[in-house]
Symmetry: C2
Subunit: 405 residues, 2 copies
């Protein structure tokens, strides 16, 4: 029996009328009387995907019942539930549409992650991957998805941020002038920033970069180093593969780099090293090669330098490579230090600052999940530690002597 496909509503107003858009569509329907005497629409062709409503019509039950079969098994008899689920399988109903459910419940079931501009660098940076691991695990434990939001710097694709159906955002290590960050903050969902930038009104998780780097500086100063060079990551969104001026250091848009440099400067100035004369070489790409080339630059500039301080382990690995290339023994001829504490750094015995990267991810997820009703922004500061490896020692011709350990 074919249904009249024209418009108009059935004899009773209780059943949904046939949507006008179905007219002329390839999907066929028939009007059936349910057990309450209401007309309902039943699909007699499987071409139009089944919906909760069509399944309900098919079965002659209400939409609530079908919904309950999926979402509140305790709200209906096991037999009825079984009947519903079976019918669903028969007509190929894949269960409630997640998007419609999200709209209704106002929950997306996922967190968004805004990563540093260049995705590839993020995935090639073991520290970033560990952060991702921590966050992903935390999401998994909570049964939430994790949406990687593309933040292509070239296309300034804010649409991706606007389009993301998420219950909250984690922003990982972006410059303070990143337009994607601004777009995220405009969204009416909670946000946690990890590492950078430091924003007054926003929940934050990170470490105390300044004091961690002070610790490293003190260690080097204690060893007797006074003539040092620094390799750092990019300080702004522009590519500047060169010496970073004092001004550029102090106004860096990447707050983490800024804090580390400022701490270094303060510590060395305190023992009489004029920071303006210390070569601080910036590299846009965060890679081993960058670390090597920056180190080369430093050593070319001043071969008397006794220690190369790097603001990341990846860069430090490059420094080690360059030292090897030049036949400089580490640590006898040159001291090299890193920052992060990635696995590979430990393997080669790098002296570095170890930070709990994975925990940062977990904390970020937790913060987003535990929304206090009100209150001040939460600032989580995780502990770091100095790992003294085998890449730092007193300088060769140091006038200071080292009597340790």
């Amino acid at each position: 029996m074919r249904a009249p496909t024209g418009a108009g509503r059935p004899a009773t107003g209780h059943a949904r009328k046939i949507p006008a858009s179905w007219r002329g569509s390839p999907w066929l329907h028939q009007l059936v009387l349910n057990r309450y005497g209401h007309f309902m629409v039943r699909s007699i062709s499987s071409r139009r995907p089944a919906t909760l409503a069509s399944l309900a019509a098919e079965l002659g039950v209400s939409r609530t019942t079908v919904s309950n079969a999926y979402n509140r098994p305790d709200q209906l008899s096991p037999e009825l539930r079984q009947r519903v689920l079976e019918a669903a399988r028969r007509v190929g109903y894949p269960g409630p549409d997640p998007v419609a459910r999200s709209l209704r419940t106002r929950k997306a079931g996922a967190l968004g992650l805004l990563l540093t501009e260049n995705l590839s660098y993020a995935f090639r940076d073991p520290a970033a991957v560990s952060f991702l691991e921590g966050l992903a695990l935390s999401c998994e434990a909570a049964g939430q998805g994790l949406l990687l939001v593309p933040a292509n710097p070239e296309r300034e694709d804010l649409a991706a941020v606007h389009r993301a159906g998420v219950d909250g955002f984690v922003v990982y290590s972006v410059p303070d002038d990143d337009p994607h960050l601004a777009a995220v903050l405009e969204r009416p969902v909670p946000t946690v920033v990890c590492d950078q930038p430091s924003l007054p009104g926003v929940d934050t998780v990170g470490i105390d970069d300044g004091s961690a780097m002070t610790g490293m500086a003190d260690h080097l100063i204690g060893l007797g180093h006074r003539r040092v060079g620094v390799v750092c990551m990019r300080l702004g969104r522009d590519r500047n593969d060169a010496i970073a001026s004092l001004d550029r250091q102090r106004s860096a848009h990447f707050h983490v780099q800024r804090a580390r440099l400022v701490a270094l400067a303060a510590a060395f100035e305190a023992v009489g090293v004029p920071w303006a004369q210390v070569p601080v070489v910036e590299r846009f790409d965060h890679s081993v090669e960058s670390g090597a080339s920056a180190t080369a630059r430093i050593l070319d500039l001043d071969p008397e330098i006794t220690a190369v301080v790097c603001t990341s382990d990846i860069l430090a690995l490059g420094a080690l490579e360059e030292a090897r290339r030049r036949g400089l023994r580490v640590p006898q001829d040159l001291t090299v230090t890193g920052f992060d504490g990635i696995a590979e750094a430990e393997r080669v015995g790098l002296t570095t600052v170890v930070q709990p990267v994975r925990d940062k991810g977990a904390e970020a997820g937790r913060l987003l999940r535990e929304q206090p009703d009100h209150g001040r922004p939460r600032k989580i500061v995780l502990p770091t530690s100095l790992r003294t490896g085998s890449t730092a020692a007193p300088p060769r011709n140091s006038q200071e002597r080292w009597f340790g350990p």
Copy 2:
């Protein structure tokens, strides 16, 4: 002027009536006459979040116009658009709700990624991370999000799969009996499987594991190895840190491992090695330690073994570690081979099969994006190559001689 908060519709039917649910809510509204003489609702408190409709009411324009201001700038005058955008900022309207838009447009703007059961292993496996990188880059280029779908093996949390608002799924390297895979295939969106399992009706991207491993086997056979041991990843969802029986090898639920083992067996059987006597040690955890312990097991079982074939680089790194621990020189005393071609393997000169992991991710994304109107399932097979490093050489007391290259 306070609006009557009771129900009922305004004098004209053109404006939306006030939703009953607003009654008694903390949000206040007033009825205003727009320039067409229609009553519209205006929010006079910013507590209830603005919507496209409320903004339209505020401005006295239709919802279409506001929608167009965001989605089709060419459909209205620049001045009007500007007015709309300004008003939006004033009332704190964050732009069209992404979920509602998704429901309407039937596009989620994201792909879902179902990863191997244990998330941590995925993030600690450089091959998996590279895959992720390739996929993420491909999504970024297309302006799509990438949703990591939690697939906790313990909680069998299929809800996460059901809840994922995505336009398609990528399934990366799961066993053929994974319930999450089944749940994904039930969803009415396209799916691409990467690596495993091999499913007849589903789009696929991978490599020819069999012939790649055959190449490796032939290489070892050519070097003169006949007494070999194998370290492989888990063959099923159950933990079995032990020798894998022939039967277990042949019926492995992880098709990639199965294909590699079957190829090895065939190649060695072909030169008279009885495969049943070759120790194949399985490890559930995919880690360097696993590779080491499995290698230890093999060498304890048969110290005369001349080559340890590993089905992944990570495991091979462990094998190298164990050899070092035992004072065995590689390759003089022991040959070790891997599979994947990760960066660290190259660094240590591992002889291995190199596969284009990043390309796999990119291909998976592309396949999902380019949906043919119809046709056979697409099977993409990417090329591999044998990288002869410094960890494979003829066996010490080989009766076969090696005259090459």
